[in-house]
Subunit: 316 residues, 2 copies
């Protein structure tokens, strides 16, 4: 369930655009107005608002925000205001660049979105960067990581709920043989994780657990200091239990000395319209502190305000 | 979230009572009418209906149902029609008797209800059986099981969300020392699990996981062939992750050769008004088959119909 709160009666995009335009005027910027509008509009409403803003004020709303804001608050507002596909394209591009390299983000985009949303992100990537995500990932990786990540970002999985139980049994055995021999970079394991539907992979891993008495991630845990194996675990978690995966990203971002604002902003902006309510539930269960309180303790000012608004704090 | 579906406009209890009374008349019984009414009324509505039935027809609705129905269908209708506190009292009584002994049910009632609901169940137990649950459990158990179960059913936990983090750290260490030495029947472990609030126990077990890198249930797993240790695990699961606990009870009830109808009926009737939607989600995730399809495959007739109605299948 989404945490985003949209008011019962939403002002017209013309009115929203006017308020934002006024908030940018003069010396100071009225951050409160920016939060009160943008953090309470869904993706369709934000898109419409950007179109109307461009038409009425001959300026790109995102560029205006970029000019007026700064720091973590700017990054949160920008990432949030993006259309989800555009945002994923932007994050994917960043994560293949040298200084902001982050293979976990590629895993999240490829595995914790619906097949269609992931496809739209790849289309947005091509429209914006004039290259394909596949070729950029292939170019920037090598060895085992390339063998895993290129098929992962190339796939367009079937998204239905149907499951072939015979196939699940067969492939559970294949996976078991491989992880027992620690052949983590073998073709079958990569093939199964990168091409099968989420429902089918879930069935295979359930069968694995029923037959061998332990989950596949337990096997992988023994070798978890290796990035390749950690990515395998992240792929499995994103495909089968995304709210637990994101709970852990938040926990590590918040518990880190100095807070990992990029991780925090990424999870909040990409999940607020999807399953943030479930992530909050898992967060409370695992940390015994509500997420809003943990965020309020580690952040401040406008950055704190927008994160809290997006996770459903206060009124729309 | 509850799976129970109540229609938007509920007939008056007089009308419901009349329909039921007619369904009982003559040679046959109209099971369809019984399901269409009882399986779509919440606890308050069912209670009111019983009162009106007694007033208008001078008969106890439960006794009428008992007379007219039989088998698994009867048990499901009876358990469901009970008020939740009455139902828990009934199940608790059964579970202390020789032929229907089941310590897991005691754990469920003591740990997977709110503190207040558990207290109401104990009051209903005293009203109905003229003894206390505590004395009956103490009388029917011995040794380590008594050391664990008597304080468990005696407790009236604090139900608030406040957590003392210093205490959680301290008690996590206590628990770790004990489970490492396999002193599972030691006073501190029992004291913590039977007296602390759910939020506090959750904080302690989270701290345990953060500090020792593994959950307490992993330690207990090594000795899981012993009933006492299995009960400890069930207590922890019911206190911290009830939807996963009940998913497992359902999985084992359904996968058993011949199906464990008592387990199936118990979980459906006790959770339909609480968190059955979450249990269904976990069931699908863990078994790759929706719960309704699994139930339809393993049961039939009126028994199947009432279970499906209670887990939210079809229209109210």
């Amino acid at each position: 369930m989404a945490s985003l709160k949209v008011p019962a009666t939403v002002p017209s995009p013309e009115e929203d655009a006017k308020q934002l335009n006024e908030a940018f005027k003069g010396w100071g910027t009225n951050e409160g107005v920016i939060i009160s509008i943008l953090a309470h509009r869904n993706a369709t409403q934000r898109n419409f608002l950007r179109t109307v803003y461009a038409a009425n004020y001959k300026k790109d709303l995102l560029k205006e925000l970029d000019k007026e804001l700064s720091g973590d608050f700017e990054r949160a507002v920008m990432l949030w205001t993006f259309d989800p596909a555009e945002r994923d394209a932007y994050l994917a591009k960043e994560s293949t660049k040298m200084f902001t390299k982050n293979n976990w983000i590629l895993v999240e985009i490829a595995c914790a979105r619906s097949a269609l949303d992931f496809l739209k992100a790849k289309q947005a990537y091509q429209a914006r960067y004039k290259t394909s995500l596949e070729e950029d990932v292939a170019y920037h990786t090598s060895g085992d990581l390339r063998k895993l990540l290129v098929p992962l970002v190339s796939t367009f999985r079937y998204d239905g709920a149907e499951v072939n139980m015979m196939l699940a049994m067969l492939e559970a055995k294949m996976l078991h043989d491989q992880v027992e021999d620690k052949e983590y970079n073998d073709g079958n394991l990569i093939r199964i994780l990168t091409t099968r539907s989420k429902a089918q992979i879930s069935a295979t891993l359930n069968h694995f657990k029923n037959t061998y008495g332990t989950s596949i991630t337990k096997y992988l845990k023994k070798d978890s200091d290796n990035e390749y194996v950690q990515l395998l675990k992240a792929i499995i978690k994103c495909l089968t239990y995304p709210e637990k995966y994101f709970e852990k990203v938040l926990r590590q971002a918040i518990n880190k000395v100095g807070t990992d604002e990029w991780g925090l902003t990424r999870v909040v902006t990409t999940r607020a319209e999807l399953d943030m309510e479930r992530i909050k539930e898992e967060y409370l269960r695992r940390n015994s502190v509500p997420l809003d309180r943990a965020i309020a303790k580690d952040t401040h000012g406008d950055y704190e305000e927008i994160l809290l608004a997006l996770i459903g704090h206060g009124h729309a």
